[in-house]
Subunit: 337 residues, 4 copies
C-alpha cells in the first residue's frame, strides 16, 4: 500500500502517522520529497482499511499495491481451482455448459428442454424458481413449486441443477435440494447473503453485479470463501454502460483478467448480457475463444410464450447447432465440451 | 406502449399478434406502413410485461409511453407526499436534515455527535449498526449493540433514528426499534427485502443503487408501496461513472426529475457521493438549490479515528457552519430548516 | 418515428402539430387516448430533426422507429460491402489483419516490424506518424518524416499503409500518400474532418469514440458516406466504462450489431481496448469468433523502449504465434487469413 | 510517481530499471519487499511518460502522485485566474452569465434575444454559427453569415460574443471577430485544434468532453496553455452515463474539484447537460450554490420553431425570472451578478 501525503505537511505530523501505521503491524518506508512525501507500506496490508488511513487529514490518497483479496488470489493459490458438482467439473479441461429456461414454468416444459440440452452436450440444467424482476407486477417465478419441478427433472435426466437464491429464508432448502446455488447480479453485494452461503459447502455461482469492478467481484467471492466455502464459480453477464443497443455490455476482458488474478473458474452468460437471442451465438463463441471455462445459456422451447426473457432465449435446435460450433472453438483452445 | 414490428412481416402474423395483445386487455391501434408497421397499445399497460411482447419473433422492439410505476407516479397522486416520523416531517416546506456518524462506535461518541447536530438544527440522527463493507476483513459494524446505543441516544436527545437494514432476519427488531429503516444502495434491487419492509408501516429511506436508472429507482419504491407501505423517502447518493476523482458522481438532475415523475420526497447524501469531506458543503448547498427535500450528512467528532469512511465525514463545528449557510439557501427556495 | 404527446393536451393543439408535421412531408397517424395521445409518423423520417419536434411544448418525447442513417444502413444495401485497398480486401471471406508499431520511430524499426508481420500473414501495415496524446509534454509523433518512412517501407514490402489523420491541413498529403486514412477515436465526432475525408475516395478506417453509441458511430460513418466516400471500415477499440482494470472495455457485441444494422465491414483493435499486451491474444481470438472482419494489432520489436504504448504491444514472435491460432478460429468461422 | 514492480523480479533487473529512470532525471527511492518491490520517483515527473515506464516487462503498474498538468495546476499558481473579455471578467467575484440561442437563425432573432438577456443581466451573448450535429442531414448552422450577424448584434448591444470553432480553417477569422472562442465537447481531445487556439490570445471556453475525466479535461486546458494562451475558461456540460432520462448527467462535483486542483475559472451549462428546458432552472441554481463562476444558458424567443435544441431552451421571460433567483443564491455565496 502506498500512502500519498498532502503537500507541505509538518515533519512531526508525518512521524505521528508513521507511528500509527507501524502500530497496525506493517513496515513503513517513508520517501520524503521537498514538497510532497509518500509512505510505502510493506507487509500484510490486506487487513488495513484504506478508508481509515485516508481519513487522516494529512493524507491525500491511498493506493493499493497488492490486491485486497486473499483466498481468491492466484498469488496464494497458483493452481486453477476445479469445482466438482457430482461428477461434473467446472474449471478443468472440459468446458461447462449450463442451459435451460429463464424461469421454470411447468414440469413438461423443463423436462423437454432438459432432455434436449443434455443430448446436445450441456452438463448442468439452469432454471429460475425465484425470479428477480424490475417490476413487482411481473411474474415472480413459481417459487418452491418450481424447485420441486427442477428436482424431478434432475432425477429423470441426471443433470445437476443450478437456480437462484434470493433470500436467506430459503437457504436451508437450497442447500438440501440444489447442486449449484446461484447468487444473481443484483445480490452480488448483498453481503449478508454471501456470508451465509459461505457457511455451506454447496458450490456457488456468483454473477457479477451490473456496476461491479473486477476487484469488487473478487471481493464478493472473498466474502463467501472467508466463511469456508471455496467452491465459487464466477459468472460474467454484462455490465451497465452508456450503450443502449444491448441490454448490458458483455465485458470479455474479465476472462483473461480473472485468469491472471484468481484461481477461480469463470463462465460467461451471453443471454443476459445482450438481451437478444440472435447475439447469443457470436458472444458464446467469443467467450470460449477468450478462455472462459464455460457458458450459461437460456434455452426455451417456445420463446414467444416464455414467462420471462423470451427475447433472449434460443430454441433447442439452435442450441444444438451452437454446441457443434462451440466444440470446434474449444478444440482450438485445447479444451473440450 | 408502442410495439415496433420487423420489416416485411406478413399480414396474418400481424393479425395474430394483435389478437394476442387484445386478449391481454388493451386496445391495439395498428399503423401499417409499406415496409414497417407499428402497433399503438392504449389502456392500462402497466400490467403488460414488455419482455413477453418482445419475445415474439416479429417484434423489433417495445417502447414504453407511460411509466411502469403506478403508486409512486405523480399522475395518479398529484400532491406531494409528506412522510411523518413522529413530529418530524419529510417532504413538506421544512427541509429534513439527517446527520450522524457513518457507524455507531460507542455510546459516548453517538451521544456527543447527536447533541451537537441537534443544536445545529438536524432533525434525524443517522448511524450504522450493520455496515455493508466491500471487504469481509473490514469492520462490519457493532450490530445489535449498536442498535441499543442508537435507542439510548434517541431517548436522551429526542431525535428519531435512521439506520440501515441489511437482512430480513433483523426486520422485526428494526420495525420495533427504528424510526426510519434505511435500505442501502447495494440492496436497492434486493426485491425480497423490499417486499418485506413493504409489509411494515415504518418509513423507509431507499437509497438509489449505484447503477440504477431513475425509472428502476422508482420501480424499487413501487415494490415497497405495492405491499402497502407508502412511506418511502428516496435518497440520491451518487452513481457509478467513468470519473474516478470522486467516489461516485452525484446526479442532482434526479431531484427535478423525481419532482416531475413522483410525489415521493427526495433527499441527497453528499457524503457518500463524493467520498471526500471537503466536497460535502458545496454539494449540500447545490442539492438544496436544486430543490431537494433534505440531506443526509456524515458527521464525526474524530474523523481520523473513525471506524469507517472518516475521509468523508465533517466535524460538528463544520456541520454547524454548513447549517447556517443551508438556511440561507433554503430561504431563497422559500423553504426552511 | 413516434411522437408521444403530453397528458391532457387540447384537441386543437394536436391538430396544429399534425398539420405542421404533415407539412414536413410525412404521413401522420394519430392514436388518441383518454389522457394520452401518440402520433405515428410514416414515410422518410430520416430528414426530420427529432429535436425540432421535441421542442414543441405539447410533445413529451420522440422515439425513432427507423435508424437515422441511410447510406450505412443494411436495409437499403443488403449485401456486405467489401473495401479494396489495392489487392487487399476488407469485408470479404478473408480476414484483414493490420499490424505494426504504435508510432513510427525510425526506418529500421518500421522495416523490421513490417517484414516480420508480413511473413506472419498481416495484410496492412499500421504506424502512427501524428499521435494524439493526452499530455502536450508526451512524444507527439514524427509527423511528415514518419509518413515518408511508412512510404519507403511500403515500397520495400508491398504492404499497404494505414495511419491516423488528425488535422485537415494534412489531408491532401494523406490522400496522395496513404492507402487507408485512419480517423481516431478522439476525432470520431470531428464532423468537419469527417466531411472532408468524405470528399476523397481513399478508404477510411473510422474508430469508435470512447463514449459513442453504436448509432452515433454509424452516423459518423454516414457523415463520410454522405459526401460520396463509401469506403468506410469501422473499428471497435473499447469504450469508456466504470471498470478501471482495463484501459477501456472492449465491446464485442458491436460486431453482431453492426452485421445486423449495416453493410460496412468492422474490425477490432484489442491493443488499445485493454491497454495490456497479455490481453491482446484472448481478445483477438474472441473478436474473430464473434464475427469481426479483421484486427488491428500493435506489434513492436522492443516494447520496453517504444516511444508510446509499449505496454500494449506484442513482439513479432508472439504475433506470429497468435496468427497461427487465429487461422484456426477463422477456419471454424469459415473464413481465412 | 510510484512504480509497482511485478512479484519475484530479479535484483539485477530492478537495478537496470533504476538506472534507466535515474537517467531520465528523477530521483529513485526503492522499497524492496520480500515478494514485491516499489520504486518512488521524486522530482519533476510531469515530463515522464507513464506508458513508457509501464512498457518495461518487470513493471506491474505506474501510479501518479502529482497531477500531470502544470500550467493549469493550482499548486504552481495559487491565486484564481480572472479572465478579461473587454470589461467583462470571468472568475472574479461577479458571476458570468452567457446566454443566447443554440444557433444563429436571423439578425432579428439574435438581436431580440440579445437585448432581452442583456436587460436581465447576462454579460456575454452566445450563439452557434457552425453547429456540430449528430446527423449530416440536420441543420449545420448559418456559417460565416451567422458570424456576421453576431458581430452586428454585438455592435448594437455591446455584449461580447462567444461561439464555437469547429475547424482550423476558420481560426483566423474567429481570432479577428470573436470575443471568446468556444471549443465544444466533441473537440475537447482534438489536440491539433487546441494547440492552434493556444497560439492566439483570445479567451477560450473549453467544454468538457462527454467521457472526459477531470484530469483529462485539465490536460486539454494544458494543451492550450502550453502554447502560450492562458485565458482558458472551463465549462461543465454533463457527462455520459447509463442514465437515459437526462441527455447527459451534469457532474457538479467538478466545480469544487476544479477549485481545488486549478486556478482556472469554471462555468456550467445546464441546458446541454439535461437537454430539457424545465431542468435548466434547478440545475443553474445548483451550479451557483456549488461555487461555479458562471453559467451558459440557452435562451430562445420561439423554442418550438428553433432550428436546433429548442427542447432545452428557455424563453426570455423565464430567463429573466431565473436571473432574479440566481442573484439571491449568488448573494448567499457572497458573489454577485
Amino acid at each position: 500500500m502506498v500512502v500519498i501525503l498532502k503537500n507541505n505537511v509538518k515533519q512531526e505530523e508525518i512521524q505521528g502517522l508513521i507511528a500509527h501505521l507501524t502500530g497496525l503491524g506493517v513496515e513503513v518506508h517513508p520517501i520524503i520529497g521537498n514538497t510532497q512525501s509518500i509512505l510505502g507500506l510493506v507487509g500484510d496490508t490486506s487487513k488495513l482499511d484504506p478508508s481509515m488511513i485516508q481519513s487522516h487529514r494529512i493524507v491525500e490518497k491511498v493506493m493499493y499495491v497488492q490486491e485486497p483479496f486473499k483466498k481468491a488470489n492466484k498469488v496464494f493459490h497458483p493452481e486453477n481451482s476445479v469445482i466438482s458438482v457430482k461428477d461434473h467439473l467446472i474449471g478443468g479441461k472440459a468446458l461447462s455448459v449450463m442451459a435451460g429456461p429463464c424461469s421454470v414454468e411447468s414440469y413438461e416444459q423443463v423436462l423437454e428442454i432438459a432432455k434436449s440440452i443434455k443430448a446436445s452436450g450441456a452438463g448442468v440444467l439452469r432454471g429460475g424458481a425465484f425470479k428477480p424482476r424490475t417490476s413487482p407486477y411481473s411474474f415472480q417465478g413459481m417459487g418452491s413449486e418450481g424447485l420441486e419441478i427442477l428436482k424431478q427433472v434432475r432425477k429423470e435426466t441426471g443433470l445437476p441443477i443450478v437456480t437462484e437464491l434470493m433470500s436467506l429464508e430459503w437457504l436451508d432448502k437450497f442447500v438440501e435440494d440444489v447442486d449449484i446455488i446461484q447468487i444473481g447480479a443484483r445480490n452480488m453485494s448483498n453481503f449478508d447473503l454471501l456470508k451465509e452461503v459461505g457457511k455451506s459447502k454447496t458450490p456457488i455461482l456468483l454473477k457479477r453485479g451490473m456496476s461491479s469492478t473486477i476487484e469488487e467481484f473478487l471481493m464478493s467471492a472473498e466474502y463467501i470463501m472467508s466463511e469456508g466455502n471455496e467452491n465459487v464459480i464466477l459468472c460474467e453477464r454484462g455490465i451497465r454502460t452508456f450503450e443502449t443497443y444491448t441490454r448490458n455490455t458483455l465485458d470479455l476482458s474479465i476472462v483473461p483478467a480473472i485468469k491472471k488474478l484468481s484461481h477461480l473458474p469463470i463462465i460467461v452468460d451471453p443471454s443476459h448480457a445482450a438481451g437478444m437471442w440472435w447475439m447469443v451465438e457470436p458472444l458464446a463463441k467469443a467467450a470460449i475463444a477468450a478462455g472462459a471455462d464455460g457458458l450459461m445459456i437460456e434455452v426455451h422451447n417456445d420463446p414467444a410464450n416464455a414467462k420471462c426473457d423470451g427475447q433472449q432465449s434460443i430454441k433447442p435446435a439452435k442450441f444444438d447447432a451452437l454446441m457443434t460450433k462451440l466444440k470446434k472453438i474449444a478444440e482450438v483452445e485445447e479444451r473440450e465440451i
